[in-house]
Subunit: 204 residues, 2 copies
DNA sequence: TCGATTTTGCGTACCTCGTAAGCTTACAAG
DNA sequence: CTTGTAAGCTTACGAGGTACGCAAAATCGA
């Protein structure tokens, strides 16, 4: 596959590598995501990976972008911006909780800016339609994103090597906390940003 | 010193170790904070540290608790709860930005719960005085804490090995973003929690 | 004063990890 | 078939965490 010229045909792809990396990460945790293990998971020697990825950290960055894209793609930003913003928050959080071992990665490896803006285009459009200036929209989205990630970090706890807490009670506790904090922030932005397109209330 | 019984007198203390660890962390970054380097910084062999700390991760957890305590102690929670809450957020953020290499640590190692509650007692009292139920108070404080940490993560960027961005413009950009997001959240909580007119007197 | 006891620090060693260098293999084009 | 090239492999090195057992430095009882 992926035979686009001379030379030995590639059995590896960045895509395939990142796929496998996410699998290993989900299944065995971040510490287990070593080049050797990932290689053997792909039926390949560790050093072979370096033909496609400059180093481990770059691979982690790829994972981050992949997962963030997955999250944003999952959310369909319709309606006025407050709803769309909450929708994004929910989708982001759902992704984080379904990849708990990846949460620290998202925390330490910023999403590629270009990619992030592209992915969030639809969401930002909802602000445009509400007459919210771009800069205010970015502040709101970034703030919510930062809240969601921080919240997930708190919920996931010490993820490199942790134990599972009580099952059900815990879940609803965090859910409730999340919803409350999110409503606070969104409604706060509604007040600050205002819904009047004729005068941008946020001086930047 | 620290001679409280038989045996060879200790030249090391957990305190001293954590102090040195924070120094190394601030000066050289998280990757440079290895047991060997930390040992030599203390004039001691790496393995000696293990008499006082079970392993590296526990040491990192100690650092987290130390720094969080430093932050909270720095903030003097006076006035009504919204002001106190913002004050806590500011102090927390100031600490994080003055220990940028520690931010990922705070993100991945939860603060000890007992210690956290004890440290935040003064802040929670302000909510009590405002007639806010304990649970709402905790939600608000946790949400703000999570926002501050997430914001610091975004600002500090990829901290294990990163480059410095533009100096001045950047600073005020993040400051403004921080303030806006914080006001949104605090004012949102003011609305949600409500400013209960029946203010029960201080009950200690 | 002198062992016995106890606590602390140290030297060595093992295993794992990331990854640099250079070799081999499997294709396509000529 | 020959040659060129991209992709995968083997080996090796240095660094890191830490298990294990020994050495040193105190106090205490006699």
């Amino acid at each position: 596959m992926t035979q686009r010229g001379r030379g030995r045909p590639a059995v590896l792809t960045v895509e395939r590598i990142v796929d496998a990396a996410v699998e290993v990460l989900d299944a065995e945790g971040l510490d287990a995501l070593t080049m050797r293990r990932l290689g053997s998971h792909l039926g390949v020697a560790a050093m072979s990976l370096y033909r496609h990825v400059p180093n481990r950290d770059a691979l982690l960055a790829e994972i981050v972008n992949r997962l963030f894209a997955e999250a944003v793609t999952q959310s369909r930003p319709g309606g006025p911006w407050p709803e769309a913003l909450s929708g994004f928050a929910g989708a982001y959080r759902r992704m984080l909780l379904s990849h708990p071992h990846a949460v620290p990665l998202l925390a330490t490896h910023p999403v590629d800016v270009e990619l992030g803006l592209e992915l969030l285009g639809g969401l930002l459009d909802r602000f445009d339609e509400g007459g919210v200036p771009r800069e205010s929209a970015l502040t709101a989205v970034q703030s919510v994103g930062v809240y969601v990630l921080g919240h997930a970090l708190a919920q996931v706890g010490a993820p490199p090597g942790g134990e599972e807490p009580p099952p059900e009670t815990d879940q609803t506790f965090y859910d409730q906390w999340f919803d409350t904090g999110l409503s606070a922030m969104v409604s706060g932005f509604e007040r600050i940003i205002g819904c009047d397109p004729s005068k941008p209330p946020l001086s930047v």
